[in-house]
């Protein structure tokens, strides 16, 4: 494996960096302040983008786990591992920012709203994935078992959501709701979509780095095996 960061990845890094700066500029200077919530609403653009990526990332993990179980190629397992780890980081940030947003608006740090609860349970499930991964020594076994776990986790998340839905939610429905919970004008919508797109590009860059790290770890494991064989 080439230890140098590939040129394409370097370009992607800088590209996403400048795009994020641009998005921040857009959020803080070019999007109007929400009338009922004030400045705190600006967190919303980050919150939605991070929550979105967190969820997509877990889907990515499950899909690549399925492909791994069918093809058995190491790289798909590396994708699953990376997607779970990064998804967990993004989800945690989304939960915390959501909580900070909720404090002045709903006057509480936390509510047992279905979406909030489901997201937190999703985070727990995938934290479990990392524990499971850490405590399986045999690489073959580890890959198979964690792949199956991530698929079941991905199945369980929508089931959780449906089972606790029904209690009326106070979480704002941004898409497809009948009554918009806050007035999003076209500029806000545009900024939100841009933020989601930009952070998705950032996500791809981080994923790439994380997958390279997984490859490096794999190489080290191989090296260790050969050195042990030499000693025998």
């Amino acid at each position: 494996m080439n230890m140098q960061i590939p040129k394409k990845l370097k370009i992607l890094d800088w590209f996403s960096f400048f795009l994020i700066l641009f998005t921040c500029w857009l959020i803080f200077y070019k999007t109007p302040v929400e009338m009922n919530m004030g400045l705190v609403q600006k967190i919303f653009y980050f919150h939605v983008a991070y929550a979105w990526i967190g969820m997509v990332s877990f889907l990515v993990a499950a899909i690549s786990a399925i492909i791994f179980l069918r093809k058995g190629l190491f790289i798909y397992d590396a994708v699953t591992e990376s997607a779970v780890e990064i998804g967990l980081v993004f989800t945690l940030i989304a939960i915390i920012t959501g909580s900070i947003w909720a404090r002045p608006i709903w006057n509480t740090w936390w509510t047992w709203d279905p979406r909030l609860t489901t997201t937190s349970i999703m985070a727990l499930i995938y934290a479990g994935y990392l524990f499971l991964r850490g405590s399986l020594d045999n690489p073959e076994k580890r890959r198979k078992i964690t792949s199956i776990y991530s698929i079941i986790g991905c199945l369980s998340v929508p089931l959780t959501f449906f089972s606790i839905r029904g209690v009326r939610s106070i979480h704002p429905v941004v898409f497809g709701g009948d009554t918009p919970d806050f007035n999003m004008d076209s500029q806000m919508l545009r900024t939100m979509l841009i933020a989601i797109a930009v952070f998705s590009i950032f996500y791809i860059a981080v994923m790439w780095h994380r997958i390279r790290l997984a490859e490096l770890k794999e190489e080290i494991e191989q090296l260790k095996l050969t050195s042990e064989e030499d000693h025998d």
Binding site: M3, V33, M35, N36, M37, G38, L39, V40, Q41, K42, I43, F46, H47, Y50, I86, V89, L92, I93, I96, T97, I100, W101, R103, P104, V206, H209, R210, R212, L213, L216, K217, E219, I220, L223, K224, T226, S227, D230, H231
Partner: protein, 57 residues
């Protein structure tokens, strides 16, 4: 018209969480990368060394 509530502090807190959280994760990626590349170089040296010894014998 109603007054816009002052929620600047909450905005700053949220923004800090996003920035600091992301930076910590990137930092951990870099740290792990450095740790493992060092380990890799050491392992490779070790392997070369033992091969040379075997030749010497």
């Amino acid at each position: 018209m109603t007054e816009i509530p002052n929620t600047l502090n909450y905005m700053i807190a949220g923004f800090l969480v996003v920035v600091v959280g992301t930076l910590i994760y990137i930092g951990s990626l870099i740290a792990r990368w450095k740790k493992y590349s060092k380990l890799k170089v050491e392992l490779e040296n070790l392997l070369d060394h033992s091969k040379q010894q075997q030749k010497g014998n």
